[in-house]
């Protein structure tokens, strides 16, 4: 399985500001994903980020609010824009394993609190 790191691990931000979260993988992967986990809740897919193409967003998530970059096969960023307290969540990136039987492996998450 891939080793995934995220920066920052946590942050406290003021409403109206933006935060960019970085996700680094120790091997090249085709598919990367960004999830949101609201306090005490399950995980919800925000978007799929493939290198060389625009991110694909799930229903309820838009590029203006959550712009994503995927400059190469080991790195991606998610920006949470114009934040409000409702954006307080854990943001997780994941990657899909390379084998046919592989599923997704998750990073440690970024814990965001918006005041």
């Amino acid at each position: 399985s891939a080793v995934i790191s995220q920066k920052p691990s946590r942050d406290i931000c003021q409403r109206g500001t933006s935060l960019t979260i970085q996700c680094q993988v120790d091997s090249q992967v085709t598919m990367m994903f960004w999830y949101r986990q609201q306090p005490g809740q399950s995980l919800t897919l925000i978007a799929t980020a493939n290198q060389g193409s625009e991110a694909t967003y799930e229903s309820g998530f838009v590029i203006d609010k959550f712009p994503i970059s995927r400059p190469n096969l080991t790195f991606s960023t998610l920006t949470v824009s114009n934040m409000s307290p409702e954006d307080s969540s854990i943001y997780l990136c994941s990657v899909r394993g390379q084998g046919a039987m592989e599923t997704q492996y998750f990073g440690p998450g970024t814990r965001l609190l918006v005041l």
């Binding site: 994903f33 399950s42 897919l45 994941s94 599923t103």
Partner: protein, 110 residues
């Protein structure tokens, strides 16, 4: 629309007992059924997974039972230990996308 329903919401088991968590899904196109374990402050970690052509998979103390006709699958944790206390999520996968259940908070009492 909730595509996967997980139960129970929380579970308390005595040390050495069996923990059972159930999930039910609706879409027969799902083709991969993983379980994730999440400790506080950590990201979810893949625990065990199964494909629909298999009815059971066992890895150590963890077993997935899969009932394709009933569209249900469950996680059994044998000889539960206090270190197993965590939140468990079932998930279903289709087209590289994972949809998660609501999660089960497991507490194993010593």
């Amino acid at each position: 629309q909730q595509q996967v329903k997980q139960s129970p919401q929380s579970l308390i088991v005595q040390k050495g007992g069996i923990s059972i968590i159930n999930c039910a899904y609706e879409n027969t196109a799902f083709d991969y059924f993983p379980w994730y374990q999440q400790f506080p402050g950590k990201g979810p970690a893949l625990l065990i997974a199964i494909r629909p052509d298999v009815s059971e998979k066992k890895e150590g103390r963890f077993t997935i039972s899969f009932n394709k006709s009933a569209k249900q699958f469950s996680l059994h944790i044998m000889d539960s230990q206090p270190g197993d206390s965590a939140t468990y999520f079932c998930a279903v996968e289709y087209g590289n996308k994972l949809v998660f259940g609501a999660g089960t908070i497991l507490r194993v009492k010593s």
